[in-house]
């Protein structure tokens, strides 16, 4: 994947950071229990399980039961963190997330690993392109897509400190670093990584690093882009969105997810109801992906800095055309 992120340093995969952060939290908080559905070595919940075997439950290959058990444990005062691949825990556990977590507003943390298409060769059945839309559809759920290992650590801590359901997407590949150290983080608060007056690029996950690269390329042509890391998709930082619209007059949203129902759709709703401006979107256009190497898939399906760069130029030309009219 390195060639997709020229000039960027790579850190750990966000799933690795998740396992470590959870283990560290587990030292101080007996109430944390961790459940996995036979993917603990992949989701990295095994990192917690090795440290605290008494509080770790591998329920086997049963996502529905995984979620239901977590609801029961949460209603008995535990703080369950449950993991599987995003494609499995969200899709196969969705009714249970609704009935046993969202509806009763229980304190369950759901971590879907191997999010997006950057999982690669395993193919579309294991890739998750709709998890953010589905998780956002569950009332009371907080939904986060961290961009790198440092932000993941902050998100895991925030998830523990928040009383209520949280969904966090983690990724399989090593992720390009966005932060040098664990950043300040709060649900509903975006991070402005670079300021600019010509347009704003709002992104999360792997697309944040891509947005930063695109902003550098745009700057070479005299275009100054603001870059906002919107790790928290729900609740959305509507102030940051409105400021982006008012200050820069054009917005690009980029994510490793279906265009319909993800970050882009949520930002568009916020823009439409605050300060409408031209928008462009980078994401998967109503399609599943396929098997292949992660970098090749990100290129084929248009999820690199180049597509962000092109979207930025498109949105600027639309704004200019609108102004000339």
């Amino acid at each position: 994947m390195n060639h997709l992120y020229p000039g960027r340093t790579f850190g750990k995969a966000t799933r690795d950071a998740y396992g470590e952060a959870l283990r560290d939290l587990g030292r101080d908080h007996e109430e944390i229990v961790v459940l996995d559905a036979d993917l603990a070595k992949s989701t990295k919940s095994a990192t917690f399980g090795e440290a605290f075997p008494d509080r770790f439950f591998n329920v086997g290959i049963q996502e529905a039961n995984l979620v239901g058990m977590a609801g029961g444990m949460a209603s008995s005062g535990k703080v369950p963190f449950i993991s599987s691949f995003a494609a499995f825990v969200i899709l196969k556990g969705f009714d249970q997330l609704r009935m046993a977590v969202s509806y009763p507003k229980l304190n369950v943390k759901v971590i879907g690993s191997h999010g997006g298409i950057s999982i690669g060769e395993d193919g579309a059945s294991q890739q998750s392109v709709e998890d953010v839309a589905l998780a956002c559809a569950l009332p009371d759920f907080v939904v986060c897509v961290p961009s790198d290992e440092h932000q993941m650590r902050a998100v895991v801590k925030a998830a523990f400190e928040h009383h209520g359901p949280v969904y966090i997407r983690s990724g399989r590949p090593k992720a390009p670093l966005v932060y040098d150290t664990t950043p300040e983080f709060a649900f509903g608060k975006a991070a402005t990584l670079r300021d600019g007056s010509d347009l704003t690029i709002i992104a999360n996950g792997l697309l944040v690093a891509a947005a930063l690269i695109a902003a550098e390329r745009l700057a070479e042509d005299g275009i100054e882009a603001r870059v906002v890391d919107m790790a928290c998709v729900k609740p959305l930082d509507e102030d940051a969105v409105r400021s982006a619209a008012e200050d820069t007059g054009a917005i690009v949203v980029a994510e490793e997810h279906l265009l319909h129902g993800g970050l882009g759709a949520r930002v568009a709703q916020a823009v439409a109801t605050s300060h409408p401006v031209p928008m462009e979107f980078v994401g998967l256009d109503d399609t599943y992906a396929e098997s292949g190497d992660p970098a090749g898939l990100m290129e084929k399906y248009g999820l690199t800095w180049k597509e962000v760069d092109a979207a930025a130029r498109r949105v600027l030309s639309r704004r200019t055309a609108g102004a000339a009219r």
Binding site: F57, N65, M69, G72
Partner: protein, 317 residues
Amino acid sequence: MARSAVPAAAPDVAALRDRARIIRRHIVEMLHEAASGHPGGSLSAVEVVTALYFGGILRHDPENPEWPERDRFVLSKGHGVPVQYAALAMAGYFPVDELRTLRKIDSRLQGHPVLGTAPGIEASTGSLGQGLSIGLGMALAARLDDMDSRVFVLLGDGECQEGQVWEAAMAAGHHRPANLIAIVDYNKFQLDGAIEDIIGLEPLAAKWESMGWKTREIDGHDMQQVVDALEWSTQAGEPVCIIAHTVKGKGVSFMEGDNAYHGVAPSNEELPRALSELERGDPEEENARALGSADVLDRAEASIDASAESNGKGGGR
């Protein structure tokens, strides 16, 4: 029963039968008032629920529903919730009069159970197949905390067609909580017809046993058998499944075994017929009353009469 670590002396089975009769009256009354709901599967579960709440089985505290060391009752067959609401009201969780608000706007008594609404409800159910997983999570949480709370989960028979039931059964068979009791209300019918005509469950006990559960089959309307089985279940030391053979619509002659009453409330004409069949009359029950075991029942009965009189005057808490 009141909060206590040890069940009281042997329950008065005759008094329990009378309570069951009053719970049935509440069920038909509240469903008539709601003009919707599921009488068949509520009535079939009456003895099990009555024995749990009033037979010294469930350790709970209506004054403090959140008591951490309480036993839990999870109604996985959520459409049967009228029987639980009736029991909770009679136990003192909320006024009996509130039963009239079932299924109405602003009521705490939702059409299917919702955690956080009516006190005493332990899980949100109604999408079938989920309660045993929730109960297993509760049982394991109690074990982690060295609490001896027991978790009773009441499943429907048709519900046992859901795959998640067997996920949970298999997981419980592995983790072997000694405090998890499943009860199947085996009334032989589901919405679309007879279970054996749709997807049969037999051999049902063998299925549970193959997953590592102890089982016992009982007549789910024989109060003595129900009480004995529930008492046995708490001493078993491993996951237990009680298969309660029941009759859908039990206690109301024209509903018994007639699956039309799966999800149809009694009409204005049917209500008095149903209530008259649920009048006191069994000599054994009369005897129990004569022994003074039922002053609470008198109050409950009075409140039924009061609610009957005020029928149609609207809901609201």
